[in-house]
Amino acid sequence: MSILVNKDTKVIVQGFTGKEGTFHAEQCLEYGTQIVGGVTPNKGGQEHLGKPVFNTVKEAVDATGATASMIFVPPAFVGDAVMEAANAGIELAVIITEGAPVRDMQAAKACAVKNGMMTIGPNCPGIITAEECKIGIMPGNIFKKGNVGLISKSGTLTYEGANQVCNEGYGITTAVGIGGDPIIGLSYKQLLQMFQDDDETEAIVMIGEIGGDLEIQAATFIKENITKPVVAFIAGQTAPAGKRMGHAGAIISGSAGTAKEKMDALESAGVKVVVSPAEIGKAVKEVLG
């Protein structure tokens, strides 16, 4: 078991024939992901990396039965691409592209929710179920199969965390990079619940950052719903307070989203919080015994 994706997940790539799309689709294929085709408008009918290219997501879904999409289109087209996937019946869209306008993502997320499509990202490394399915840009070789679920806002901290878990002799069920943009798809709460319900996952690593209050919400959720051990690290304890022009952004949630606030909230929810990311592996060993 694992969450969200596995060896049977059929994946298409939006922005298939572009430079980034091509490079990473190739890496995913090599990893074993079932990439069944891709979409690039006006290139329908061609073949790319040995897979069919379609003009629209609808055509691609009809022809291949894909349920997941990996999105690599340029930033200005991300909103449109997500809405197209949602309307074509895709169940999970993984948005890798960095720099999509927030207003576009706001509309795209609302459309995805309305159509019952889950999203991951944007501006994220993607999702990987170890040794089965990689939909993203992470180096696949560091994710050994095991019993630890991982959720992270940061790409490179996902790699760092997974690597330490594996070096301690454990492994990963599924790792999800949720991204740190103002509007994101699946967040800690939903993913924590999925890992809680997954038989194979025995512990969860959660990596957060300063800003916003998703980690605070996660802490409340863990206290009430999660019985599996959770290890957490919050990046940015030493980050200086930003020179913001106005104050409006920070007070929305009634908190400034400092690392300390988040660490305290998680600790009081029974989470094993580490002060340095270099301690993640050891902490996992401690909670799993």
């Binding site: 790409g155 690597n163 929305i252 270099a278």
Partner: protein
């Protein structure tokens, strides 16, 4: 990206958000000419910098004669204004905004920002105008009204009613004016891909009109491509020179006051590296994210920027290669040592994609002051020791 008050008011005016009349000045002569053109017998001379708290810092003053306009413009132009948002180093004032005086009977607060939890824009309003809104939120949170607006339906009548009744506005004409004001401000926010708009204070005049006495706007950097008119308002003198230089090379750099220079890929790992250095008893000298497309040239540039800081006693290069290939970083380090005089110890930890090739490159190069590390903890410990001269 942020803009100045006078620029925000130019945008407001286009949408019919009322503001006092004003003209921007670069010199005391221009200030006096502007005051004459505006007419009247009372003016406000306002320093234009990208920070709040200008009034308390002495950057906003009232003039009751043209001579006073000249005196105040002369005093404020060229001053280094220190406010709670500028940091202790302050900001140099290069422009003043000359504005007609206003007859204030009440001060309110109004802003539009994204509510991340609701995933839609929110209008925030308060009767406590002129005060620091964070203080209001902390001490009297019940005095802040929050109204979320779903962009798929837009600003509706009920949003307006919630706003005016929340603010205790009972006069029907005034209600209409306030609703029109807020709706226009919401349009400014949506049309221009703003990140936030804040008006503090929003004043009520003796004649029962509402006006934006101040205006702050920040924009979504990712959307600037479709707003060339906004991009044209960029004031590069408001941005840190080193940060700006770094950004031209795809590097994200923020100076700090410690001793260990950091070069890391990814913002999360960069912060995590700073935290680890701190945990091991050292102090980070900067935040530097080399991004996803680091080349030999960008790495060399990173070294150059880090070494400009005279406090740096050691550098910690911490790369977990995903998209970034470690061999490229290793070559970048070799290049850097040729292009820049790297006169402090450099601790290098390269892991992930092509880490083995990178190790061979560094080993063969055999550079004096390069110390290799096996993992994050090991690297941070070595960097802390090196900075202490151990």
């Amino acid at each position: 990206m942020n803009i100045h008050e006078y620029q925000a008011k130019q945008i407001f005016a286009k949408y019919g958000v009322p503001t006092p009349k004003g003209i921007i000045a670069n010199t005391p002569d221009e200030a006096v000419a502007n005051a004459k053109e505006l007419g009247g017998n009372i003016w406000v001379v306002k320093a234009q910098i990208h920070a709040g708290g200008r009034g308390l810092g002495g950057g906003v003053k009232l003039a009751k004669s043209l001579d006073e306009v000249r005196e105040l413009a002369d005093e404020i132009l060229g001053m280094t204004l220190v406010t709670h948002q500028t940091g202790p180093e302050g900001k140099l004032v290069q422009k003043v905004y000359i504005e007609e005086g206003a007859d204030i009977v009440d001060e309110l607060y109004l802003s539009v920002v994204l509510d991340r939890a609701a995933e839609m824009p929110i209008i925030m309003a308060s009767t406590e105008g002129g005060m620091d809104i964070e203080t209001v939120a902390h001490e009297t949170p019940e005095k802040i009204i929050k109204i979320a607006i779903d962009p798929s339906f837009g600003f509706q009548g009920f949003h307006g009613r919630e706003l005016v009744f929340g603010l205790g506005i009972t006069d029907k004409q005034e209600q209409g004016k306030m609703i029109k004001f807020a709706k226009a401000l919401y349009d400014v926010y949506m049309d221009n891909d703003a990140e936030m708009i804040e008006i503090n204070p929003l004043i009520k005049t003796a004649s029962g009109d509402f006006m934006a006495l101040d205006g702050k706007m920040g924009f979504d950097d990712s959307a600037l491509g479709r707003h060339p008119d906004i991009e044209a308002m960029r004031d590069i003198s408001e941005e840190d020179a080193d940060e700006r230089e770094a950004s031209q090379y795809g590097l994200s750099y923020i100076a700090l006051d410690g001793e260990i220079g950091c070069m890391v890929n990814g913002a999360g790992l960069a912060m995590g590296t700073m935290d680890t250095i701190n945990y091991m008893g050292g102090t980070p000298a900067n935040f530097l994210d080399v991004g996803g497309t680091a080349s030999a040239e960008t790495v060399a540039k990173g070294f150059e920027i880090i070494l400009k800081n005279p406090n740096v006693k050691a550098i910690f290069v911490n790369i977990f290669g995903g998209i970034v290939r470690c061999d490229r970083i290793a070559n970048g380090i070799l290049e850097a040592t040729k292009m820049v005089d790297v006169n402090v110890p450099v601790v290098v930890r390269l892991d992930g994609t092509n880490a083995a090739e990178a190790a061979v490159i560094l080993q063969n190069a055999n550079i004096d002051n390069v110390i290799t590390a096996t993992d994050l903890g090991d690297g941070a410990a070595k960097a802390v020791a090196a900075a202490k001269g151990e």
